[in-house]
Every structure is written in C-alpha cells, then in structure tokens.
Subunit: 331 residues, 2 copies
C-alpha cells in the first residue's frame, strides 16, 4: 500500500513516519511507498520501507497537493497546520493554511474520486481546541464546537468538511481531536501549554523549569506515543462502526499539575522535583483557565482507541522514547 | 442609518425589507437607505424609505459584495443561500454560494474594517439543519453541530466564521438558527418539509393538500412573521449580553401535525380539514424522521427573541399577513 503524510516534519508527523517505517507496514499490510511532505522537506526515517519520498510543498499553494493525490495513496494522514499562536497572530496565514490547505487537499481527493472512483482513508489531526469555555468539569461527548481561537475555528471547519466529504462518499474520513501532547520532546517553546511538558522534560535532563500555574490545575493529556497510536488505529480500523459523526474525542488522561509532579518524583526523585520553580504568570493562568479539564471519549474508547492511565506511564514513555531509557540525575 | 439585505428576493428577505420600509426605521432609528440585493433583482417595497436601491448580484462572484460594503451599511442582513435540496444536488454550487459567498461577504467587511475601523452589525440566517440525528426528544442548547446535509454543513461553517470574525472585532455578528418556517406563502414546492405548510395554506384557499406522514410527527416551527421579528431583534439588540457563542437557537413552537390540523379546524372548520388527504410517502417519512422534534432555546428567549405559542397563532398570522384577514371557505 501507499501512504501519504501531509505535515510530516512536525513532531507527531515525524514520529508517525518513523513508526510506519520501522514496522514496514500499516495494520498488517506492507507499505511499499511512504510519501512525506511538509513546508520544509521532512527527513526520511530509517526502517523497512525502501521507497520513501520526501518533498517540501506549501499545502496552501494552488494545486500543490494534486500531484500527490494523483499517485492515489491508500491512506492520507493530514497533520499540516500552523499552530494556535501563529494562527492567532497572523489571521490570513492561519485561514490560508489551516482552512484553505485542508479544503484544497480534500478537493484534490474529491476530484480524483470523480475521475477514477478513488476513495482513500483520510485521517485528520483536529484538536480539543475546537471546544471553548465555559464548560462543565467534563466536556460531554456531543458538546457544541465553540472555539475561542482562530486555530480552533479552522480545525472545527476542517472537521465539518471531513464529515460532509465522507458522507458524500469522496473519501473515508476520521477526525481525531487530540488532547494536549505531553511530554513534548525538544527545547522549551513559548506556547502557553509548554510548561506542562517543560516541568517534566527539563528536570529529567538535570535542568530547571518554571511552573506558572497552581498545581491544582487540571487538563487533558496524551503522550506522543499514544498520539501516534491514534493515527495508526484510525488508518486501519473498520470505519463502518463510527456512523456519520466522524470526528472523535480522543481518549486522554485527565490529570492535575500535582499528578505530573508526583510522577516526576516517583520516576526521577526529589532532586529532580526540586528543579521545578513556581513562578505564577497571570497571562498563562488566564489562558489555561479556558481549557477543558476533562473530555468524554467513550465513543473513541469503544472503537478501540487507547491512551495512558497515569502520568507515570506518560513519563516512562518519554524516558523510553526520548532519553534512551534512563534519566540523567541532577548534580 | 443604512441597511443592506443580501438575499432580499427570498421569502424572509422580502418580508424583512417590507417591514423595514413600512416602519421607515430599525430599532427606533430612521433608515435613510435600504439596499436590497439577490441573484435576481429584488422588488422595492412601498413605505417610508425614499432611497431604496435594488440590485442583482451573484454573491459568489469574486469581489461582488465589496462595493456594497464600501458604502458602510450599519446593519448587514445575510440571508443569501441556495436551499438544502439544491446544495445536495449540486455540490460545487452549494459550496460556492453558501460557503464561498458567505466568506467573501465577511472578508469584504473585514477588509473595510482594516481600512476604516468599520464594524457593522451582521445578522446571519442559519438553520436548525446544522443539527443532525440521532438526538434526544429535545436538542440541548449546546449540542454538537453534526449536519447530515451539505447545506447544514455550509451553514455550520458560516456560524463558525461569524463567531471568529466577531471575536476578532471585525464585525458584531449574530447567527440565527431558524426553525422550519410555517405557513410558507406561495405555491406548494417540492421541499421535503413543504407539506407542513401545504396542509394549512391550501385548505384555507379551498384546495386539497397531501399529508405524507403520520399526524403524530413532531417538529419545530416559527411563522414568517416571527422570523422577521428574529432578524429585527438581532439587528437592534444589545449584543454585549450574548457572550462569545454568537449563534443562537431561535425559539420555536414544538408541535405535531395533529396540532396543525386541530388549528386548521378551529380557524377554518371541518370542511377545510376534510381537504387534507393522507397519502403516506416512505421517502418523506424517512427524511422527516431525521429532523429535530424540539430544540432548547432558553438563551435566545432570555435575550428577548419571541415566537408563537400555538399553531392557532401561526395560522392566524398567515391569515392576517397573506389572506387579507379571512379564509375562503371551501365550497
């Protein structure tokens, strides 16, 4: 089979490609060709797939995805997006890439469907940013989409298009509302959500990290490993059981910052914990206050999607996947 | 003040224009200019407004609405859309007009906002077609948008854009999820919902009408007069009380076909009732089965939107507005 990953240079896209290349297949079927595209050229992972094609394309450029779809990949993973902060800072760029790029890709598939009956599985990376406060302690399964950012709006529109294009029979789509991904690898970034990862990742490398909110703050998480699992399952599952509501709340771990810190102490000890410095930041406190503390995901769990049960599990996944299996003890 | 109605040749747009022209104002403020556009040139109503401009434009043509917005109308009513059946039959036309036309209009306002700080009230005609079965006996206020038609999808996307453009400060938007409008004036049409009006309107003119479903079928209604009231209220209300969720379930009357028939008998007698012929139609039964029997609209009611309390009231509004105050008794 042929697999296309649009947005393959991002954190999840890269890990997804690595996993498919390592497995040499998807859902038990061999993958003969893996095509990886992003606005910067992705790096081909090692593994069992001989034919890996990496290209730099701008998904929002007219006709950019048509040649990719003309190759008729069996599975299309669509993760390309500019992130929340940038979509908020640059209105036109956000709509051009996150809405325009998604619509162009879906239309490229629709056109190929019209020519040849082509009907791939399409897995779309959405986000819990489609939900906006106020909400209850747990966002119900069928809650309204009332995003409070342009990014969330663009993802919600992508979901609506995905559902309608699927209903029309142009492709077989599954939209994944991803929890906040934690522990994010790499350097600390300026995203308002960055501290959730920083306070675990940095101390495990012997570095200090700033905690800008109270440790009672509750939010909804999944590890990068679990997120890759969501995409693999969505690509290979029997979609006839989903019904017309094709966009699914992914399962996540509802946990507090205190739960994170407990897991850090268990795994890396008191010395690591002491590297976390509480420095309240009113701006971040206000932003995080608008995020969902918990989200119902019974439908996705019933459909076979799985996630970590504890922050200790999330931290151990990070140590295995990013730190070669062991924590560097602080001096 | 200046008022623009986009989609002014449709049933509600025409009645809205007639009402504004008859009043000579909006919310107690005089209207100096009323601009009416549609894909066919609307007819100027009589009344107290000297300066009424009627134009035929295609909202989906590039830049079509820019010159209208350059005149900086204080209130923009956006009702232009192709209907559900046509949007389902012609996928590209539906997206071009219902999504593309809406986005172009909103962007024209955004551009003028960027140039001059212009920030009009925008009232957008959405529909309960944004909701799709399965749902409970009463659709809750904050229920997910899971449309089962391309029309409903396009309206849901329009709602998301309206909310985001409002949040961004480009305009001050209010989206109205309209109930099924009953009694629709004019000749019977082929819409699946047409019978709800036909079984009242036709017998009141001494003509037969076909009832294709059981009289236990329950649905959600408002009269054309109430719908015009929704638009007038949305144009003039204090929007600061709405909050970020700018798209509102309009109040409606949840009633059965039996309730309709009872009202017909009360108002027009047994002879009128005998003109309604039960001819079950499996296709229509199936379609109607997917429609909401009732919708929670507490937010809109609290914000001052009002609707009829009984089908007798809906029927009497029709007689006053369309039949000159009296029913033609059947021979």
């Amino acid at each position: 089979m042929k697999v296309l990953i649009v947005g393959a240079a991002g954190m999840i896209g890269r890990k997804l490609a690595e996993r498919i290349a390592a497995d040499g297949g998807l859902g038990g079927q061999p993958v003969e060709q893996l095509v990886m595209v992003d606005v910067v050229e992705p790096k081909a992972p090692g593994g069992k797939i001989a034919d890996i094609v990496c290209k730099a394309i701008d998904v929002s450029a007219s006709g950019a995805t048509e040649p990719l779809i003309a190759e008729r990949p069996d599975v299309v993973f669509h993760l390309a997006a500019i992130v929340s902060g940038e979509a908020e800072a640059d209105f036109e760029k956000g709509y051009r890439i996150n809405l325009g790029g998604t619509r162009d890709l879906f239309d490229a598939i629709r056109h190929e469907h019209g020519r040849s009956g082509y009907k791939p599985r399409v897995v779309f990376a959405s986000s819990i940013a489609v939900f906006g406060a106020p909400f209850d302690a747990r966002v119900p399964e069928d809650f309204a989409l009332t995003p409070l950012t342009s990014y969330g709006t663009q993802k919600a529109i992508g979901e609506l298009l995905l559902a309608d294009y699927t209903r029309r029979g142009f492709f077989d789509g599954v939209g994944l509302r991803l929890p906040t991904i934690c522990v994010r690898p790499g350097a600390p970034n300026k995203a308002a959500s960055g501290f959730f990862s920083n306070i675990l990742r940095e101390p495990m490398s012997g570095k200090e990290a700033v905690l800008p909110v109270a440790d009672t703050v509750r939010h909804y998480f999944a590890s990068p490993r679990a997120a890759v699992g969501f995409f693999l399952h969505a690509a290979t599952m029997d979609t006839s059981a989903i019904g017309p509501r094709r966009n699914l709340n992914m399962p996540g771990l509802s946990a507090t910052v205190g739960d994170e810190l407990d897991a850090l102490r268990t795994v890396a000890g008191d010395a690591a914990l002491s590297l976390v410095k509480q420095v309240p930041d009113e701006t971040i406190i206000r932003i995080v206050d608008g995020w969902a503390p918990d989200i119902e995901a019974k439908r996705a769990r019933d459909l076979g999607f799985t996630v970590e049960d504890s922050f200790e599990e999330i931290v151990r996944a990070h140590i295995e996947d990013e730190l070669g299996g062991s924590v560097r003890a602080p001096a």
